[in-house]
């Protein structure tokens, strides 16, 4: 146990370096996944079509072992950042996509009808009504994908990267159980910290009306507007 705690001090430089690499890789992977999945999910949800195909395809993606993807991608993109990035995006993409289209599709039909009755166009409905109402569920997808990605990015060592927590996690022979536990702890902390930060972002981008509804649902009286 003492070696577990002393590992942090004795390997502070290495831990810092690979933690930063781990964060960079994870952030880029989640960003790419969001950029790809959000428009597609919103569009499908808005159309109320193709959801069966999407569910099927994303479930297939989700079941692909990340390590197998890394090995396969070596033949196409070689070793390096792109290789592990592709594997992590494939992991994160279905989570964001499914949550986005489920959220947009599930927006109260009465609300959408009312917007249409007011003369709003399709894109206006999507951007002003459906997407704002979908923020909490979409952000849940993003937060889940972050946790998955951070917990899986250690596989970067199999794609030829020496700058993630995987350097230690995959080398029990070299760093001992104390080292593996220490690196795994950092990974867990990263997952929680990122989840917390994304929670703050979620709060910031959630429309006031929804936030009030959520507060009321918890039994707290809504603040009276001044």
């Amino acid at each position: 146990m003492s070696s577990y705690f002393s590992f942090f001090g004795e390997n502070a430089g290495l831990l810092l370096q690979i933690t930063l690499g781990h964060i960079l890789l994870s952030v880029v992977a989640v960003l790419v996944a969001v950029v790809l999945a959000l428009p597609l999910g919103a569009w499908i949800g808005h159309l109320h079509r193709f959801s069966f195909a999407v569910v099927t395809v994303t479930n297939v993606f989700r079941s692909l072992p990340t390590l197998a993807l890394v090995a396969i991608a070596i033949a196409f993109v070689g070793f390096g950042f792109t290789n592990i990035l592709i594997a992590l995006v494939v992991l994160a993409f279905p989570l964001v996509l499914t949550n986005t289209f489920t959220a947009v599709e599930g927006v109260d039909p009465g609300t959408v009808e009312a917007a249409r009755g007011m003369g709003m166009t399709g894109p206006q409905i999507l951007f002003r009504v459906e997407l704002p109402s979908s923020v909490p569920l979409i952000m849940t997808g993003v937060r889940t994908s972050w946790v998955y990605v951070v917990a899986t990015a250690y596989l970067a060592v199999f794609a030829g990267r020496t700058d993630t927590l995987g350097d230690i996690i995959n080398d029990q022979a070299g760093y001992g159980y104390a080292g593996v536990m220490a690196a795994a702890t950092v990974s867990v902390v990263l997952a929680f910290a990122g989840d917390y930060l994304l929670g703050l972002i979620e709060r910031a981008v959630t429309p006031t009306g929804l936030r009030l509804l959520a507060t009321q649902a918890r039994g707290v009286p809504a603040p009276v507007p001044a």
Binding site: F79, G80, F158, G160, R161, T162, D171, Y175
Partner: protein, 348 residues
């Protein structure tokens, strides 16, 4: 793994070619390669893979005759074990089939486990013999922290441990060993004049400009990249962690210039790569020998030992690579491959 332009058909047709290749190698493994190099001098100079200090404990190619007849008839039955990977399956089958052909009542328990586990199986007398890598006995079973720095020292340390702690002994070791070895593409070796690991310093200061691909744990091992840095001064080299097997892809693609391989990998048969010598012995010594209960050696008689030593003497590096190629590269059964190999070398 490799670039597969031929596709499935191409690979299937290779099976026949490889089996024939293994037989060919087997046929000339009895002495063809060594006799052409140095006809009448000591075997050590003829077979460069066996260090001079270890010749006396090695079953040198061509030096051991197969006993005639079936001396094993009526001797007590024994059980052979082997460890949990393909090369061991082949070794176990080779020893078993040779003994069976000589009339010994022998059965095999294959795929038992790692070094510690199979040592326990021997201690508890569930098996009476198994083929083992001698460096493994010293480090994994005897758990000596300062491994010997020579092939003969490793053999003696393993033998001493087995005799004093396990009531067992170590027969003659094979001419091949299965150890980590640094390989580079042939063209790269010629371009920079590389013959030994230390020559990588010629590429750049401390090996700067060259990257070595290997499993992630190789990076931090004394018997790995760490030892290369400390013993050969290769502090400028880069490291590319890969999954086992992918290191060949890495140097084929040019992402790495060197790779950590096993000296018995069948991929080395392709003659595309140059294995760099390790004069300081940092990767340890992993020659194979049968570990046998002393009581069994006594009760089975001298022809038993001679038969096993004869099998060991056939196993040059090229021979084991060809056997591995048939099993790992082309999916042949270890028992079939071992049987063909022994038959080609004169076992009836």
């Amino acid at each position: 793994m490799s670039t597969t332009t031929g596709g499935r058909l191409g690979r299937l047709s290779l099976v026949g070619v490889a089996a024939a290749g293994a037989l060919l190698l087997a046929a000339c493994g009895g002495g063809g390669s060594s006799s052409s190099a140095a006809p009448s001098t000591a075997p050590s100079s003829a077979n460069s893979s066996v260090p001079a200090d270890a010749v006396s404990v090695t079953a040198m190619p061509g030096s051991i005759q197969l006993p005639a007849g079936t001396p094993g008839a009526g001797k007590p039955a024994i059980v052979i074990g082997d460890k949990n990977f393909p090369e061991e399956f082949v070794l176990g089958e080779l020893y078993r089939q040779a003994l069976a052909a000589k009339g010994y009542a022998v059965s095999i328990k294959s795929n038992i486990g790692g070094s510690e586990l199979i040592d326990t199986a021997l201690s508890s007398n569930q098996i009476q013999m198994y083929p083992e890598y001698l460096g493994e006995i010293v480090t994994s079973v005897a758990k000596q922290t300062n491994p010997p720095t020579s092939a003969s020292g490793t053999y003696q340390a393993a033998k001493q441990f087995e005799e004093s702690q396990r009531q067992s002994t170590v027969l003659l070791q094979t001419p091949f060993q299965d150890t980590d070895t640094v390989i580079v593409p042939n063209a790269y070796a010629q371009q920079h004049g590389l013959a030994a690991v230390g020559d990588l310093n010629k590429v750049g200061p401390g090996g700067a400009g060259a990257t070595i691909a290997g499993p992630v744990e190789f990076k931090t091992r004394q018997t790995g990249f760490l030892g290369m840095q400390q013993q050969y001064g290769l502090t400028g080299m880069g490291y590319l962690p890969v999954q086992a097997g992918s290191q060949y892809t890495a140097i084929d693609q040019g992402t790495a210039q060197a790779a950590d391989a096993f000296s018995t990998d069948y991929q080395l048969l392709s003659n595309k790569y140059t294995a760099l010598a390790d004069p300081k012995g940092i990767f340890g010594f992993q020659y194979v020998a049968p570990i046998v209960k002393q009581s069994v050696v006594q009760s089975e008689g001298p022809e038993f030992t001679q038969t096993l030593n004869w099998v060991s003497s056939l196993l040059s590096t090229q021979a084991i690579q060809a056997l591995n190629s048939a099993v790992q590269g082309h999916g042949a059964q270890p028992a079939d491959v071992a049987g063909q190999f022994l038959a080609a070398n004169g076992l009836k």
